[in-house]
């Protein structure tokens, strides 16, 4: 039985539009015109308990809006949502006890106090006993390598530590379903890895379901067996990450080191030249053409080294969004 169910989910909301200039401002003051924005259109998916799913899409694609519908912050314009057996928008206590939402840019910890004080508030709100509280804080702070940091004022923590403390606060009530919106935003590579490792461990230890959005592909590749790709409010892809690459990037990169530089005109004959830097060339080659192209390159040119790689995921996704060519 899926723990998250979304059926034909749509959200339309009004956004005030203002013409530029003084005249526009005056009109805006007296009579606001609104444009209906279709933030999410007809999105359906199911997520099983314990799954870790990545939610991909450019800014404004509708990821956050979908997360807000799943957490019950906003009411869908149409369609059905069910999370852990509840209709989110009712925000019943039993539902709120089971979920959490972490937003990378929004913090809930009290800035001037040690994080432990904010955690105490959360423990009271979620009705966690003192013993259980100490146990969970010990466990989570160890998993997050935050020992000793919880007694410092939040403002004295580094960005990475603060984010981890935010995550700790959001998970104190041990939710079954985690919604994470850009949990690693702005963190350095080490901190990103720390958060990632933690999420993986949390998922395994508590069989929690995780739905996360991120701009860092590394987060997605490291954590998610499955991705949902959303673009202009529509669900474009739902499946494994490898499948995504195959579907949207049926090509490989062929890196060649030549004995001497050749002109671009000459090289274009073998494939799409992506990069040309002296003796180093990078071709983009359709997958079905790969063997033929490689053997031709090796036969015709003086090659020192040749390497075939998959294109980086970021590039593939970027291309998908840029072209808007996706048709599912």
């Amino acid at each position: 039985m899926p723990i998250i169910e979304a059926q034909n989910l749509s959200k339309v909301y009004p956004v005030a539009v203002k013409e530029p200039g003084i005249a526009g401002t005056i009109t805006h003051f007296f009579r606001r015109t609104y444009r209906q924005i279709k933030a999410v259109q007809d999105v359906s998916f199911e997520i099983a308990a314990g799954e870790v799913v990545g939610f991909l899409g450019p800014n404004g694609a509708g990821k956050t809006t979908t997360l807000k519908m799943l957490t019950g912050l906003i009411h869908p314009s149409s369609g059905l949502v069910k999370v852990a057996g509840h209709v989110p928008f009712r925000r019943q206590e039993a539902f709120l006890q089971k979920i959490t939402l972490v937003m990378g840019q929004k913090q809930q910890l009290i800035w001037d106090l040690p994080a432990i004080d904010s955690l105490k508030i959360n423990a009271a709100v979620y009705n966690i006993s003192d013993r259980e509280f100490r146990k969970r804080v010990g466990e989570l702070s160890e998993m997050l390598s935050l020992e000793g940091k919880l007694n410092q004022p939040v403002r004295k923590l580094s960005l990475g530590e603060r984010m981890k403390a935010e995550i700790l606060a959001a998970l104190l009530h041990r939710p079954l379903v985690l919604f994470l919106d850009e949990p690693t935003l702005g963190l350095d590579v080490n901190a990103q890895v720390g958060v990632r490792d933690f999420l993986r461990e949390y998922n395994q230890r508590y069989q929690a379901t995780v739905l996360l959005t991120s701009h860092y592909m590394a987060d997605i590749t490291a954590l998610c067996q499955r991705v949902l790709l959303i673009h202009q409010g529509k669900l474009m892809y739902d499946g494994s990450l490898d499948g995504l690459l195959e579907k949207f990037a049926p090509y490989r990169e062929v890196h060649v080191e030549l004995t001497q530089p050749l002109s671009k005109q000459r090289l274009m004959f073998y494939g799409d030249v992506q990069k040309l830097d002296g003796r180093m060339v990078c071709f983009m080659v359709q997958q079905e053409e790969l063997t033929r192209t490689v053997s031709r390159i090796l036969a015709d040119l003086d090659v020192i080294d040749l390497k075939v790689t998959e294109p980086p995921v970021e590039e593939v996704i970027g291309r998908v969004f840029q072209a808007g060519v996706v048709s599912s």
């Binding site: 906003i74 009411h75 206590e93 009290i110 106090l113 904010s118 508030i121």
Partner: protein, 263 residues
């Protein structure tokens, strides 16, 4: 259930008290910023030398001191907090916790009182040293009644301002409502002048508004200016109930609006 409630209350109060104590230097400034009544006191004492007001200079001194105290106990700033939460979208996180977000603000306000009182008392002591003629000790009964009425005044002020704050869901600057309201509050609450010196017909009308119960009524009780206690208490409770009803209704409408706009 009861145990949980007590535990939650104590946790909230202790954490928010710690939070307020972090700002002790600012608190002193806030206490001093509330000393407008002390300035007005000087003005009225001068004016009362003529003796045409029915109150002696000492009466004025005590009245404004009481106003100062009432203000210290009933300061409310929840509208600026709610406005910020809504505009910055921080409310979203709070809405996902199984507790009404308003309790965070209530706890912050109540704890702030506890952190503020020592400074306020210090200032009162200082005042009596500077102006010993005004010194008096109210009876225990008066003090208890005063405390009760001040608590009601705080609740009324908080509920009214929180009700205004809900307009944040419709306008980005709900605090403008508070600023407008404050103008009436200033003149009709008894902060600038005791209601005693208002002409009779004006006073009758003013007593029908919530304003005098926020300051004039509790202050008068403390210094012993005669008041209609029953009518005063009933009015306060009536206004609290009225605004509470409006508050809850607006809150539900506001949440609908908030979620409609994309939270």
């Amino acid at each position: 259930m009861m145990k949980r409630l007590i535990k939650t209350t104590l946790t909230f109060l202790s954490v928010y008290y710690a939070y307020m104590v972090e700002y002790r230097a600012e608190l002193i400034l806030w206490v001093l910023a509330g000393s407008l009544p002390i300035i007005l006191m000087g003005v009225w004492i001068q004016a009362a030398q003529g003796g045409q007001f029915g109150l002696t200079p000492v009466d004025f001194a005590r009245y404004f001191l009481a106003v100062f105290l009432v203000r210290q106990f009933t300061v409310v700033w929840v509208i600026w907090e709610v406005e910020r939460e809504v505009v910055e979208g921080k409310l979203s996180n709070r809405l996902l916790q199984p507790i009404d977000p308003v309790w965070h603000h209530v706890a912050a306000h109540v704890s702030e009182r506890a952190a503020r009182i020592p400074f306020a008392i210090l200032l009162v002591g200082l005042f009596f040293i500077l102006y010993p003629q005004a010194f008096w000790i109210p009876s225990l009964g008066t003090l208890l009644l005063f405390s009760f009425v001040v608590i009601l005044a705080f609740i009324l002020r908080f509920v009214i301002q929180h009700t205004f704050s809900i307009f944040s869901f419709w306008t980005e600057r709900a605090s403008a409502i508070e600023n407008f309201w404050f103008l009436f509050f200033l003149f009709l609450s008894g902060m600038i002048a005791p209601l005693e010196v208002f002409p009779e017909p004006v006073r009758t009308v003013v007593l029908l508004t919530p304003f005098p119960y926020l300051i004039n009524f509790p202050a008068s009780i403390l210094v012993g200016i005669p008041v209609n206690l029953t009518q005063g208490l009933l009015s306060m409770i009536g206004w609290i109930v009225l605004f509470l009803g409006l508050n809850r209704w607006l809150w539900r409408q506001g949440l609908k609006r908030y979620s409609g706009m994309g939270a």
